[in-house]
């Protein structure tokens, strides 16, 4: 009975993975097809030409650079904000905590287009009320995309850092203060080192969330382009397999990163297993 279930489960998992990966494989495969339209059927022969065209596409490179810049700015803003929010939230209790928590996680659930529109309207109105309509910072642009993205990505950072804070021993800070550390040292030498893993993980998440973002960016970007918007506009306005070449490279990058992660994990697991075995052997030797 339970063996049947395991086989059925594995079968379903296999089908599901196929369902997830086949579309990506089709898209990546079309990058090599010598056809004006992006498709794998009919197959018209192998070509590398689309990669060359992609390489020569200045718009793509500009969009790529913009995406990276926005993502870095988002990390630089969202990680400090989210960390501060987690520390603040952790220090209060009672009903204020629940309210503040609710306000902080709400942007995660807010639809991207609402964030985008509200950000544009607010800064525009602010500019008008200060009599500086034309000042570029109040108009649409990638700086507003950054702020809009920070408004919800900070919440992810906050959640990750808050989870990490649960395993922090406040007694360490007490001890440092008693031994004469100043406030800056307590933060820099005691609390932050404990939070670094969570901050690093949230930086990575913030970076990729920002790179992926479409809705907020579309409403706030004005004439600038990011990579996601570039792909979107290419699909809308007559597409060539150039985009498939880009997709192939991005999927390849993902696969390489996943592979590195997996080999690292396996190596660590192996080392751990070896250590455990050694400890067991030592224990047995002691008993004899």
């Amino acid at each position: 009975m339970s063996r049947n279930r395991a086989i059925l489960g594995q079968l379903y998992f296999g089908l599901f993975i196929l369902y997830m990966l086949v579309p990506l494989a089709v898209m990546a495969g079309a990058a090599f097809n010598d056809s004006k339209l992006p498709t794998i059927a009919p197959w018209k022969g192998l070509t590398w030409a689309w990669f060359g065209e992609l390489w020569a596409d200045q718009t793509m490179w500009g969009a790529f650079l913009n995406s990276i810049l926005v993502a870095l700015a988002v990390v630089a803003l969202a990680v400090p904000i989210g960390t501060a929010a987690a520390i603040l939230l952790n220090s209060i209790s009672g009903k204020y905590r629940a309210t503040l928590y609710g306000v902080m996680v709400a942007p995660v659930l807010a639809p991207g287009l609402v964030i985008g529109i509200s950000t544009v309207l607010f800064w525009n109105q602010l500019g008008r009320s200060m009599g500086a309509d034309d000042f570029f910072l109040f108009g649409r642009g990638l700086h507003l995309s950054t702020l809009g993205q920070v408004s919800y990505i900070s919440a992810y950072v906050m959640l990750l850092v808050l989870a990490r804070l649960q395993s922090f021993d406040p007694g360490l800070e007490e001890a440092a203060l008693d031994l004469g550390a100043n406030h800056g040292q307590v933060l820099r030498r005691i609390l932050l080192p404990h939070l670094y893993p969570a901050m690093a993980a949230s930086s990575a998440i913030a970076f990729f969330q920002s790179m992926e973002n479409f809705n907020v960016t579309l409403f706030t970007k004005a004439n600038a382009t990011t990579l996601t918007v570039y792909v979107f506009s290419q699909v809308r306005s007559g597409i060539t397999p150039k985009i498939n070449a880009l997709a192939f490279l991005l999927i390849l990058l993902t696969l390489v990163l996943a592979l590195i992660y997996e080999t690292n994990r396996r190596r660590r697991a192996r080392i751990e297993a070896a250590r455990e075995a050694e400890a067991r052997r030592a224990e047995e030797a002691m008993l004899l």
């Binding site: 599901f16 059927a41 929010a85 306000v103 287009l113 609402v114 509200s118 997709a247 996943a258």
Partner: protein, 311 residues
Amino acid sequence: MEDLIRRYGTGLTAVFCLLVAFWILVLVILPNFAMFEQSFRPYLPVVEIGGPKDVYGFANYGKIFANPVETTWFGIPVTIPIHINTFLLTVFYSALVTLMTLIFAYPLAYFLAKIASPRSIPTLLLLLFIPMWVSEALRAFAWYIILTFNGPLNALLKALGVIDQGIRWQNGVFTSYDAIVIVLTYCYVLFMLFPIYTAITSLDTNQIEAAEDLGSPWWRTHWRVVIPHAKPGIASGCVMVFMLSAGSLLVPTVVGSTKANWFPQTIYTWFNDALDWNTGAAYSMIFLLVCIFFVILTMRLFKVKLSDIAK
């Protein structure tokens, strides 16, 4: 708060508070307030802003009731304002996507949490993460390729002899929203899977075995033991998938037919093509209210708290 000051001093505490205040006030509350306020003001040329015509009213919200069209819902002819029609169809098909992702994801989450061998789990999860790391724009584009008239799906079906003429998938077979539903399901199914998986992992396997030892058939074990335990995960997944689907602008634009309008597209048209930001604000207020309503409904229905949903 005193605790913070004692540990980090007034200066650092003030920095923490300022950062949080900037986030909550300047990036979240004030923009939403601005959207709320401007949604009640008419769209005017710049010189007339603040002038006698600039008064509050519901005119922007009223525009959703304009332009009645004749259409059919599942074979029943109705006359309905065009934007309301789009809105209702968006909500309906988003709910359908949510249901489909739930049906796909639940067995898989259960398999990963309780049946698969624990040693293989990290590898299996990594396999599932790979498509999630590929951006949504590309995943939608992948389906655009598959579903085109001269694309691989039609070629495959023809080769297998299932059909002898290509099907225009993007125009839809059952309804004009077919392609959108297929692709949204594909894009967001993992957002349903992971919360349910996390919820089921925390269920003690002994409970399932106890139910089986006491003679419960498999479906009752799920209905009475596993699903009640997985409720927060299911609620979280449902909210995420519904919000993402209803708010998606990319997927409907990339794979949707011209007959299939999605509400975010309507908002985008007001905002970007008509440049009427005030009506855009009013429409997105309506959209936001529906989303809030859906979250509250899910919380009531599954009897969970907000902190269970947003994790």
